[in-house]
């Protein structure tokens, strides 16, 4: 019964996640950027823009300039999350890819540093007056959700082991439309429920910052307005109407 419920939940949540995200990305891509507004000094070539975006996405360059504490906690969380996600590939591949096997131990500790990073961000939200002022209930809940995922995952590793072989069979089965039994451990149920919630919330929330950053005109535009005429479709129509 639990297996069936979670199978359905995962299918629906994944569908919502993928469709929702594609819908948002498509709407960003289709909305014109009528004016050149890169925040200067900006790169003047496409290669330069790729470099700028890479520095932004990999190292959080702007945040680094803004505030070292937020940067440290934020970067620690994101980098750890990446490792943790990659580590989880082992539940979806058979045989497990070599590099995924290699990062297992790092991924495990990354769960702890992820929790530390999130904790740091939450402490800022709770105790720094300015950040507390701008926080909405959903900002706190989002952090709690992620901390819940990390904590429940870590508990299964360090406190009460779950049958990971069975978990893996469940997910491999899920990928082949062949539902297998899921261990009925409380921690696992909590962990998976929170992950499902995250998938559902993602396309409707501030988590859209992840795709959004790639569409940010102040970061992804080349600084060449004098060399090339940049004209959006709706702005071009103003010209044909007149001269």
């Amino acid at each position: 019964m639990t297996s069936m419920v979670f199978a359905i939940l995962f299918y629906l949540a994944t569908l919502l996640f993928v469709v929702g995200l594609l819908y948002r990305i498509n709407s960003y891509a289709r909305t014109p950027a009528p004016l050149k507004i890169p925040t200067t000094p900006a790169p003047t070539t496409n290669g330069g823009v790729v470099l700028r975006m890479t520095r932004e996405v990999v190292f959080f360059e702007s945040l680094f300039k803004a505030n070292l504490w937020t940067w440290a906690a934020g970067w620690l969380f994101h980098a750890s999350l990446l490792l943790v996600l990659l580590r989880h590939l082992r539940y979806f591949t058979e045989p497990v890819w070599g590099w995924v096997a290699f990062i297992q131990p790092f991924g495990m500790y990354a769960g702890i540093t992820m929790l530390l990073g999130l904790g740091g961000l939450w402490l800022r939200r709770l105790f720094v007056e300015r950040i507390r002022y701008i926080s909405t209930p959903s900002d706190h809940l989002m952090l709690l959700l992620l901390m819940g995922i990390a904590a429940s995952g870590l508990s299964m590793k360090f406190l009460a082991h779950t049958d990971v072989i069975a978990v893996k069979e469940f997910f491999l089965g899920l990928m082949h439309l062949n539902i297998q039994a899921l261990p009925a451990d409380l921690l696992l149920i909590v962990h998976l429920s929170l992950v499902v919630s995250l998938l559902v919330v993602f396309p409707f929330s501030k988590l859209l910052h992840a795709p959004g950053v790639f569409f940010s005109p102040t970061r992804n535009q080349k600084d060449d307005p004098r060399e090339h005429r940049h004209l959006s479709t709706w702005a071009a129509k103003l010209e044909s109407e007149k001269s």
């Binding site: 925040t39 803004a66 300015r130 950040i131 209930p137 910052h209 005109p217 102040t218 005429r229 940049h230």
Partner: protein, 509 residues
């Protein structure tokens, strides 16, 4: 007005504590029916303002990717929260860039997102009420669109884009700001922001020729409406009569004279500033810019050069090619842009900043200077926000920082920098940009100048600085007004070309 005093300097870099509500109020003077209607906006707040505002927001969300992405992407990380000069000076939390954005974002969430429709409290979504509309009017007129916050945002969210959208919505429902809309009306009617008619302008220029002749013994011309001149100079109209602006205008004229460049001003298009950007209205932005295209075509000039003006240079550098075709690289089938681009001389950047022009001439050794003429000054340079973060000069990123400094060093011996986290792309706005340079906002302007005044005081104490050069008409006007309130001499501020004017040798070459 007499009770406006300067806030105390902070022990740098302490982040100020919040003083909620400290800048609550009715905002700057509201535009009258006449001013609004002249721009095609409703005369006063319309009955159905709520529905029209939401509809306009939807319209802007479909037209501007910046707005659409910026409404979604903010995670409330607070990176920007201590970066705004108005927040630092006023301590009002709603002047934190993220909080200012949220005034609009909360309404976006309520009407355009599922969680905001279902659980408004949870995600900080709000109905658009009259109180919210008034709050928009007040706080979106406390942003100078200087983009400092956008430098620090991990997603590049630029509050200027959001302020522009908010002001555009306010204008659409008949809730425009007097200062900006009045000025835009003057540009349409008379050709410049100050409403100087052609004959008055001609008188002023003749007077200037006499003044320069008296001072130097040389006939430096200030030509107007000369067909076939090589260069059309478009400069902020404050340059024609305001102090210290006029000294830079004399500087440009001397550079043109000394290099034997034929140039002209245009009576029809005697304004570089473009307040259409301040109110975020593309039609106004375009219409105002079109005057320059028209003047260039009528006068048949080969080059278009822009005087010392911050927002004007952003519009010229970043937007003119888009709006009017002043630039290069138009598609061969783009007849609108080709018409002008065929006329312009593409060995030079189009448009060019006067600093680019002067620096090129210095490098070509076509100008000579007596640097000792500026020896009475110990000079520092204030990067104007829109030049620094919205434009460029020269061929390399950051040319807008190097070229003005290079010019200063070429014409003067004593130059020192202000604190590095307050210059270049991290520069602070003067406190008067973006349509706020009006006396009904003087309290805000004084407070907004605080971070710049602090570091200026530092350089005065440490290096004896007695001249702050800048290349923006608004910076010059704002600083001459607020610096005395901080205890500085108003004559401490001036243009880069004022220094050029002091040192340039007109007799030789």
């Amino acid at each position: 007005m007499a009770d406006i005093t300067a806030p105390a300097y902070r022990t740098i870099p302490i982040i100020p504590a919040l003083k909620p509500g400290s800048m609550e109020g009715k905002g700057p003077f509201v535009a009258s029916d006449k001013l609004n209607e002249a721009l095609g906006f409703p005369g006063q707040l319309v009955e159905d303002w709520h529905d029209r505002a939401i509809a306009k927001m939807g319209d802007l969300l479909s037209k501007y990717r910046s707005l659409k992405v910026f409404m979604d992407a903010c995670v409330h990380c607070g990176a920007c929260s201590d970066k705004c000069h108005y927040f630092i000076g006023t301590q009002d939390p709603k002047n934190m860039p993220v909080a200012r954005q949220d005034l609009l974002r909360s309404v976006y969430r309520r009407y355009f997102t599922l969680p905001g429709k279902l659980f408004p409290k949870l995600v900080g979504a709000r109905d658009l009420t009259r109180e919210v509309l008034d709050e928009w009017y007040n706080y979106f007129n406390q942003c100078s669109e200087c983009r400092r916050c956008s430098v620090f945002c991990p997603y590049g969210i630029d509050t200027a884009e959001i302020t522009m959208a908010a002001r555009e919505i306010l204008d659409t429902v008949g809730y425009g700001q007097k200062y900006s809309n009045e000025i835009i009306g003057k540009v349409h009617k008379i050709g410049n922001n100050l409403g100087l008619p052609g004959p008055a302008l001609r008188d002023t220029l003749e007077g200037l020729e006499e003044d320069v002749k008296d001072a130097t013994g040389i006939d430096v011309r200030f030509p107007m409406d000369v067909k076939g001149a090589e260069v059309l100079l478009v400069t902020p109209s404050a340059d024609f009569f305001a102090e210290p602006h006029i000294d830079s205008l004399i500087g440009y004229a001397k550079v043109f004279h000394a290099t034997g460049t034929s140039w002209t001003l245009s009576s029809m298009s005697s304004e570089a500033g473009n307040f259409g950007m301040f109110i975020g209205n593309y039609d106004q932005l375009r219409t105002i810019a079109m005057r320059i295209r028209q003047a260039a075509l009528e006068l048949g000039v080969k080059r278009i050069v822009v005087g010392e003006c911050g927002h004007a240079w952003r519009v010229a550098y970043s937007f003119w090619n888009t709006l009017t075709g002043v630039g290069d690289g138009a598609d061969p089938n783009d007849r609108f842009a080709q018409m002008l681009q065929k006329q312009l001389d593409h060995r030079y950047k189009q448009p060019a900043h006067i600093c680019e022009f002067t620096w090129d001439m210095i490098q070509d050794e076509r100008l000579t200077f007596d640097k000792t003429a500026n020896d009475k000054y110990i000079i520092t340079f204030h990067d104007s926000c829109n030049v620094a973060r919205g434009s460029r000069m020269g061929d390399l990123p950051g040319g807008q920082f190097e070229i003005p400094r290079n010019i200063i060093k070429a014409v003067a011996n004593n130059f020192v920098e202000m604190a590095p986290n307050t210059t270049r792309e991290q520069t602070f706005c003067c406190g008067g940009g973006g349509g706020l340079l009006t006396d009904d906002l003087l309290d805000l302007r004084v407070k907004g100048a605080l971070p710049r005044m602090e570091v200026l005081q530092q350089t005065v104490d440490e290096h004896g600085v007695n001249f702050m050069a800048t290349i923006c008409a608004i910076c010059k006007a704002q600083f001459t007004k607020v610096m005395p309130i901080y205890g500085f001499d108003r004559k401490m501020v001036g243009g880069v070309h004022q220094l050029v004017s002091n040192a340039i040798q007109l007799g030789q070459k």
